[in-house]
Each structure stands twice: as C-alpha cells, then as structure tokens.
C-alpha cells in the first residue's frame, strides 16, 4: 500500500471515515432489504445505499485520488450523477410493475374475497 502511505495524516483519517460511512450506509440499506416484510417497504431500503452510501464512498475516492495526485480529480462525480439519475427511474418502473401484478392477481383471485389490500 505504497500510495496510501504517501497521504498526509488528515487525508488518511478523512478517507477512512468517508469509506467506513459509505460502506455502513450500504450495509444498513441491504440489511433493510433483507429484514423488512413488505415489498413496498423493501423498495425504500436500498436507496440508502445508492444515495448516501454512494455519496460518501465517492467523496472518499475523490479525496484520496485528489490528494495523492496533487490536483483536483472529479472523475467519480460521473458515477454519482448517473446513479442519482437512474435509481428513481428503475424503482418507479419496478413499483409500477409490482402494482400491476398485484392488481392482476387480485382480479384473478376468487371473487369471494372482498376488497382487501393486496398481499405482496
């Protein structure tokens, strides 16, 4: 780890904190994906990883490479812009598909059931 030893101490601590925060947020998001009971609740959990987790990890990466090379590098911002643009689109489409599937299933279910909330 030669290039990491060249970082000044404040940058090393900052990068470590940012990386830990990003990974922690991603882990909490995935844990929520595993633990929550309902699909519509579960949709919310991984966005923690795609917003805050990716933000902190990209900030750590930008800090590391900028300090190591001595000039500002904003290469990683591309990933952030792309993630913030694409995540809402995919999740909205997915939720719409889930709503549609639930509705179709409700219609095909035996008519004896009165109007209930669809069990996901």
């Amino acid at each position: 780890m030669n290039h990491l030893d060249a970082l000044p101490p404040w940058a090393a601590v900052l990068v470590g904190l940012l990386v830990m925060l990003g990974a922690g947020f991603a882990f909490v998001g995935s844990l929520g994906l595993l633990r929550l009971r309902d699909f519509y609740k579960r949709v919310h959990a991984p966005t923690l990883g795609t917003t805050l987790g990716a933000f902190f990890m990209l900030a750590g990466s930008i800090t590391c490479f900028s300090v190591a090379e001595g000039r500002a590098i904003f290469y990683e911002v591309l990933i952030g812009v792309f993630l913030t643009l694409t995540t809402p689109i995919t999740l909205m489409l997915l939720v719409r598909a889930a709503l549609y599937r639930n509705r179709v299933e409700e219609q095909q279910a035996p008519a004896a059931e009165t109007r209930q909330k669809p069990m996901p």
């Binding site: 090393a12 470590g16 699909f39 990883g49 987790g53 990466s61 598909a97 599937r101």
Partner: protein, 93 residues
C-alpha cells in the same frame, strides 16, 4: 497511526460491503415474488460497484472507477429491462 486506521477502515468497509452483498443475495434467493428478486439484483449491482470503488481506493488504480461506472450503467439497463418485462410479460398470458 492514521495510516493504520486507513488500512483498517478500508478492510472493514470491504467486509461490510461483502455482508451487504450477502444480504441482498439472500433476498434474491428467498424473495417471495419476482419483483423482490429484481430489487435485490439492483441492490447487488450497487453494492458491487461500491466494493469496486473501495478496491480502487485500496490499490490506487483509477481503472476500478471505470469498472464501477460500467457496472452502474449495465445494472441500470438490466433492471430497466426486468421491470419492463414484469410490466408487460403477463399481458400476453
């Protein structure tokens, strides 16, 4: 001291991201319906991208950032295709 903390933090972050990938993989295996599996696949893509960024910080090579960009792009396309399939696949049935 601070560099020891940095090395430890990066290894801990990699372990956390591996655990996150395991969680979403478990949801993908267990998920009761198809949309759960697609959602878990999306989360798996994002976690893999973050893991690649972490490895990039550790090795100091900018190539991993490009790999992460490609993973984000292909993951978006894949999840979009799956969602469209879920939306329209049952119309035909």
């Amino acid at each position: 001291m601070s560099h020891g903390f940095l090395a430890l933090a990066i290894v801990a972050a990699q372990c956390l991201l591996l655990l996150a990938m395991a969680c979403s993989l478990m949801r993908m295996v267990r998920g009761p319906r198809a949309q759960d599996r697609v959602l878990a696949l999306d989360a798996l893509y994002v976690n893999a991208m973050l893991l690649l960024l972490c490895i990039g910080i550790r090795t100091g090579s900018a190539l991993y950032v490009e790999a992460g960009l490609i993973i984000a792009l292909l993951g978006f396309a894949g999840t979009l295709a799956f969602a469209k399939f879920l939306l329209r696949g049952e119309v035909i049935e």
